[in-house]
């Protein structure tokens, strides 16, 4: 988090409009997109930019998210830089094609606005939509603020195109998507220098003799998955490089994970997205009360930054995971991923408490977080996540 020193280059933007600006500055060439609450302001803002001649992109408005993603993949594999956005049922309708995009190594960038998944029908912040797509092969970043969403969108193109993997930038419904804050808008020239025009090695074009997606044998299919695995393994360092380069240009960076007041902590709150902002306040309050509590914000969720979280949490007594998502029969997805990541730390493994906090968009205040953390002090950690309120 950087403090605002010069408001002249800032605009008051919602998280969604910040993403639209991030996309605009990245100069996408094809934008296939379908509206859905609470994503629609991204699409509408990009439409405004297009109508005003401020972006030189083909904007394609098909009949569904499924077709939007199908068009995105084909456009990306034809060598175009592609952006799209969705939420909730939209990303679920895309599910089949999320696999196609990753398998096809199409470096599409997509913003997903985290919204509850039906049934029943609702519109509230909950990351089950994109977290349930964690096995599709997309890089996933979770953003806390409109500024981070803008910066992440631009960084996402650089990472996606470096490792040839599609990337989604996720932010929470309303808390980030519709909340407004002063957002620094980088110069177009700065972004152009940071993100050169997309220039892939392989693409669909007559005369090149390259085709995509043909039937292959078992061994070759297996090799595609090993290649994908190698690309995923490169993501944390690629993101660190992209984030560092961005900091040198703008002064802003977010890391693969963020360690907030964690150095001498005996307790770490671990969470993602807008919940990190609330937890930050709770940490400050608990620190003021003399408690040694810090925050570990997971920004990169896929690939899961195993080495980073192991280093960050080794030797810390307790980790309290706040999950605003729910996998039936399993619990909180960050809780489960974190436990797996800490496997084998032996003596320095923290006691991990998984809390289902705010599922369905239920409000979680700093006071609530202080209470949740306090309640874990005399409780044995459980393998399953616990519902708290």
């Amino acid at each position: 988090m950087s403090s605002i020193t010069n408001l002249a280059d800032h605009q008051l933007l919602s998280g969604n409009h910040a993403v639209a600006w991030g996309a605009r500055l990245a100069r996408p060439q094809v934008i296939p997109v379908y509206p859905i609450t609470p994503q629609s302001p991204i699409m509408e803002k990009l439409g405004d930019f297009h109508a005003a001649g401020e972006i030189d992109a083909e904007v394609l408005t098909p009949e569904s998210e499924h077709s939007a993603m199908a068009a995105a993949i084909a456009a990306s594999l034809a060598g175009a830089r592609v952006f799209t956005a969705t939420a909730s049922q939209g990303i679920l309708l895309m599910h089949e094609l999320l696999h196609y995009a990753a398998g096809g190594r199409a470096p599409i960038v997509m913003c997903n606005v985290n919204r509850t998944v039906a049934s029943p029908w609702a519109f509230w912040p909950d990351a089950t939509d994109s977290l349930s797509q964690r096995d599709t092969g997309w890089i996933q970043l979770y953003s806390e603020t409109p500024q981070e969403s803008l910066d992440s969108t631009i960084q996402a193109f650089r990472v996606a195109e470096t490792v040839s993997l599609p990337t989604m930038v996720c932010h929470d419904a309303f808390y980030v998507s519709h909340a407004m804050e002063p957002v620094a808008l980088p110069d177009q020239a700065l972004v152009d220098g940071y993100l050169p025009a997309y220039d892939p090695e392989h693409f669909v074009e007559p005369g090149r003799g390259e085709s995509f997606g043909y039937v292959i044998d078992q061994a070759t299919f297996n090799r595609t998955r090993r290649d994908l695995d190698e690309a995923m393994a490169r993501v944390p360092e690629t993101l660190e490089e992209a984030d560092t380069a961005w900091r040198e240009l703008t002064g802003r960076s977010y890391g693969v994970i963020e360690r907030y007041r964690l150095d001498d902590a005996d307790t770490a709150i671990v969470t993602m997205g807008s919940m990190a902002g609330t937890a930050r306040v709770a940490v400050d309050e608990m620190r003021a009360a003399g408690e040694r509590v810090g925050l570990l914000k997971v920004r990169l969720f896929r690939p899961f930054p195993v080495a980073h979280v192991r280093t960050a949490l080794a030797g810390i007594g307790r980790a309290v995971v706040l999950d605003r998502n729910y996998s039936p029969g399993l619990g909180g997805m960050l809780h489960q991923e974190l436990k797996a990541a800490l496997f084998g730390l032996n003596g320095s493994t923290p006691a991990v408490h998984g809390l289902l906090a705010g599922v369905g968009g239920v409000n979680v205040t700093p006071e609530k977080i202080r209470q949740f953390v306090g309640d874990t002090t005399d409780r044995e950690p459980q393998p399953q996540s616990l519902w708290v309120e």
């Binding site: 992109a57 009949e63 499924h66 199908a70 068009a71 084909a74 456009a75 007559p206 039937v215």
Partner: protein, 298 residues
């Protein structure tokens, strides 16, 4: 004997994976060579997608992107827009889909692409069922035809895809058949002169799925046209109908009796099929005549 006016530019390679006598590969060869090398193709899963490969071989000399079953027209739209952005406005983007990928699971994406009037040529290889998965019914399967999923015969009519697309106001939609190759080639050539979405439904009798001898594809295709089961016509701008083969000379029984999928038909069912074909034929002739009159009166 008929001379086929095809300039073969070797854009469709021999050694592909189609069955012996396959009508789809015959049509694909004619269409590819008529379009020429400045083209890129999209295939959803289908017999055509199998005929393309397998990796690392390609039977097509143009680049191909294989998309999901529901999304041929959407993927073609994305490809079109990307090529436009890269200055390749003149490259033909062509979709090759089966009737399952067109009439059924891919229809939503197709309807939307036509509504947006995407500048693509969409070819449906219509073999009236899901032949690649073992000859189950599609909504293109005709009345009473037996399939793996309608063993007693399909109780409903074939979907009128041409009429549906004409209702979209599509710039060009036409039927063609492998038994009338020059008509097929002429329609591909004509489609290449038109901007916007163009749709070609090509009847490709499936030897295995319909229960036909390996050498009968072309003659059965001609019987489909001569009996009025598959009339050759085109519709421009959604309303200008032209009947390209205005000569229904054979009873449907001559066409149906050759195919195992109709072997179970009784006299009543046969009469029902004949009556439906006669009715559709009369309507088509009426529309073509009205279009001719409209043109004459300016």
């Amino acid at each position: 004997m008929q001379k086929i006016d095809l300039v073969d530019r070797d854009l469709f390679n021999p050694g592909h994976a189609a069955c012996p006598g396959c009508q789809e590969s015959l049509a694909l060869r004619a269409i590819l060579n008529t379009i020429g090398p400045d083209a890129a193709a999209v295939f959803p899963p289908s017999c055509g997608a199998v005929i393309c490969g397998p990796h690392p071989y390609s039977s097509l000399q143009i680049p191909v992107f294989q998309t999901s079953l529901e999304s041929a027209a959407a993927a073609a739209s994305g490809l079109r827009r990307a090529l436009n952005q890269r200055g390749k406005h003149d490259t033909t983007v062509v979709c090759f889909a089966g009737d399952g990928g067109t009439y059924d699971i891919g229809f939503q994406a197709l309807s939307s692409a036509v509504e947006r009037n995407e500048n693509i040529l969409y070819v449906c290889f219509d073999n009236e069922g899901y032949m690649n998965t073992g000859a189950q019914k599609s909504s293109s399967t005709p009345l009473h035809a037996s399939t793996a999923s309608t063993p007693g015969g399909k109780p409903s009519k074939k979907k009128d895809i041409i009429g549906i697309l004409a209702a979209h106001g599509i710039p060009y939609v036409a039927t063609a058949a492998t038994g009338h190759m020059n008509d097929l080639i002429a329609k591909v050539e004509k489609s290449l002169t038109i901007e916007g979405t163009r749709f070609l439904a090509v009847l490709v009798p499936c030897l295995d799925g319909w229960g036909l001898p390996d050498d009968s594809g072309v003659s059965v295709s001609r019987l489909a046209v001569d009996s009025g089961m598959w009339p050759l016509y085109e519709v421009e701008q959604g309303h200008r109908y032209t009947l390209n083969h205005d000569n229904k000379t054979r009873p449907v029984a001559d066409y149906l009796s050759l195919q195992k999928r109709y072997r179970h038909l009784d006299e009543t069912q046969l009469a029902e099929v004949q009556a439906a074909v006669d009715q559709d034929w009369a309507q088509l002739r009426r529309r073509a005549a009205e279009s001719t009159e409209a043109r004459a009166s300016g």
